[in-house]
Amino acid sequence: MKPRAPCGWLSRLSVAALLAVSWPAMAYQLDDWASVVAEARGQSVYFNAWGGDATINEYLDWVAGRMADEYGVEVVHVKLADTAEAVSRVLAEKAAGNTEDGAIDLIWINGENFAAMQKNDLLYGPWVESLPNFALTRPQANPEVREDFTLPTAGLESPWGKAQLTFYYDSARVDEPPRSIPALLDWARAHPGRFTYPLVPDFLGSSFLKQALLGLVDDPEPLYRPVDEADFAAVTAPLWEYLDELHPYLWREGEDFPASSAALRQLMGDGELSLAFTFTPSEPAVAVANYQLPKSTRSYVLDAGTLGNVHFVAIPFNASHKAGALALANFLLSPRAQARKQSIDGWGDASVLAMDALSERQRAAFQADSDNPARLPPGALANTLAEPHPSWMERLEQAWQARYVAQ
């Protein structure tokens, strides 16, 4: 516990001076959760998280309110347009020799950004196994909470939510959407200009390449090992053949691509597209509620399943308020926070908790709270394809750019 300063300004000053000198950077013990919570009290945690979605921002406002009331931790949501901005900052701080006084305490992260930060020793940890709520994910039974794009998380990032590639379409304009990658080509031929994917290397655009590749290869096995061990040209040949055929039937004949998942949804809202996809299964339903998509929007997952992954939070190696960040990460995993996050009125992001680890009352909070027709039918998310090894993403991106960007 933080000692109370005796009365009198002189003694207060001397205690303050003493604290400034002697208070160690890590007074808490990771194996003593009470010490973490105690040190967290009074800290300001700078949580760097993408700020492009008002719904998510509102959810984080709620989190900040709870953290202030219950833990005395001030949570400041640093709104990023791109997670890479935070990675850049930590890198700059490391380059400048700032090892203790970093500006970022917690980052919302996964995939390539995590791989890059881990590779360059920019992360604090391991700490995840010490979070009391981590056990609620039943990591033994659900290995995906310890794996980020096939890379082991090594306790450096704590799971926060689940994403799965989800297709959505305007049922007023499309009777029967394509349910496989080959069917998508036929559909595009019949509806020229009404489908596209985000510009590679946007995350969702690159994910589409992987999804298409998984749907076209006979044997997906090489995709789960580093790309160098496979014959890249041979494995990906069906993909390029497919894309060469598909591109003339894309929006703007494949000469221009939307910049992001958000831009793709925008085009759906404008009626320029009638079929699109997202990595956030709840996004179409939330967007309908916010007037961004027509009420006739429907979601579905390809018959053979779609790519799924987990997103995480991580602490930079030089975070100034690690205890506060730990307390926040633990709270984000609490049944209450996860239930609110999954609710369509909260954010609509799927929970990472294992339902069988929860009490009956806790489980009740996760019951579907509305039957929005734009939502995925129950059970659709069970059909998940694992992400290929991260090295594939980069090679696919390079090959795509060489093929379609060069003039």
């Binding site: 993408w50 347009a81 990675v87 020799g97 360059n120 703007r252 404008d270 009626g271 320029e272 003039q407």
Partner: protein
Amino acid sequence: MSASLHVALVRLAAWLAIILLGVPVAAGLAGVIAPAFGWLPALGGHEPTLEHWQALTRRPGLAGMVALSYASGLASAALALAIVALFIGVFLHSRWFGAVQRLLSPLLAVPHAAAAIGLAFLLSPSGLVSRWLSPWASGWQFPPNYLFPGDPYGLALILGLTLKEVPFLLLMSLAALPQCRARERMRVARALGYRPLAGFLKAVMPGLYPLLRLPLYAVIAFASSTVDVALILGPSTPPPLAVAVMRWLNDPDLAMRFMASAGALLQFAVTLTALASWWLLERLVARALRDWPGDGRRRFGERVGALLGGGAIGLVVVLVLASLAGLILWSLAAYWPFPEAWPQPLTPRNWLRGAGGFVDPLAQAALIGGVATLIALVLVTGALEAETFRHRPPRAGVQWLLYLPLLVPSVAFLFGLVLMQTQAGLTPGLAAVIGGHAIFVLPYVFLSLAESYRRLDPRWTQLARSLGASPAGVFWRVRLPLLTTPLLTAAAVGFAVSIGQYLPTLLLGAGRISTITTEAVTLASGGDRRLTAVYALLQLLLPALGFALALGLPRLLLRRRAGLLSRP
């Protein structure tokens, strides 16, 4: 104030201005040059190498990226200059001039990104124009599949940049017209029988152009290295170079930083090449047209010119206003399907959803913009006043230094700047952000004020000195009051520049300082067009207020001093 103290303070301001600009830009550039040649220990780069340049040259589409940046920079500047010249030539003598001028000046307040978003709303296949024409005229039940904006030739980008540059160049011209005695020149030419456009081009333009040269260079530098406008209106396969550099800098693979740094330097080179090309073009045109004013011809496409000049400026006004109207409609729209021309029902919900979040960022932006503008104004007046001591403008080198932040693409030096900030142990926060903004505001304030300051009739000073005023007295009681209007205009321009800054706010504040612009940009990344429209309109509010004050205050304060209000 004693004379020597005044001199010392003024000199100090001049030096501070140079340090404020020179040190960060130099540090920032160093922070890019080193990694471009392989040196960045934090990422394991310890050896000088050219390998990253080779990687850059192997990038698919690099030639296209360079060509786009170069061409859009030059083309938009040339187009904007032509429109402004035609407009002034055709209208300078007419009573419409004042009206259009009043209409156009506030358009300067529209931030680049907001204008670009508005233009995209207007002209895209599902945009307003297409909706108004559908389906009754076009037969389109669904949005057509044409490629605009984002066309591979960058025409939409050039259009968007031109729209933004016309009001800027016009404002700069309005300040410069009295300095080159445009009215008198025009009178002489017309009394000699010259039609307005021929008279303007032959008798006024040669005097006006030198005063517009630096603003034009700033325009070319901005246009050839813009990121925000290019993201919204530019093509994507390949994008303009600056957009690609920013993507590489943000690539999750940190090893890309090396090549991104080389790309940033290449961007710098492209900007310099564009400037050099313009300079060369200037020489060629001047040489080719040397005898033109003396050929005695009194008319120069007067009717076509009037049509073009009036039409082009009209089109600029209409496009910008329609873009704004589009923003307003979207901010009030519920689901608004194609081809409905009018959103139904109108809803305040988007504004209410944003309401909780925008008060603090607005106040924060106003504070940062106000202080940064004040700093810039003090330093710039100091630097200009220091010139009067020496009775000559500063060396060209110092001049260029002041414009460095405009010329060096900001993607190039901001990462280096953050490195320096961290190394110097400066806490990211309000003070750092204000300092960073001042770097970008200062050149624009200088640009807006320098000519007026330098061309202030020296006889006022001589008169005041001979009446017994000290140098400080002359400065405070004669020069500054005489310059009320240009000072306020410069402040408004500077304030608008500060409001528009995204990257410096984010990087120097470590994301902890959120202004209306950082909020708008992050929300725009989420693609909720309604909220984006709400924030783009809010983003417009502050600079619009600034310009209203700058234009309105003198009328109010100086209503009994009409001599200080004389407008061209």
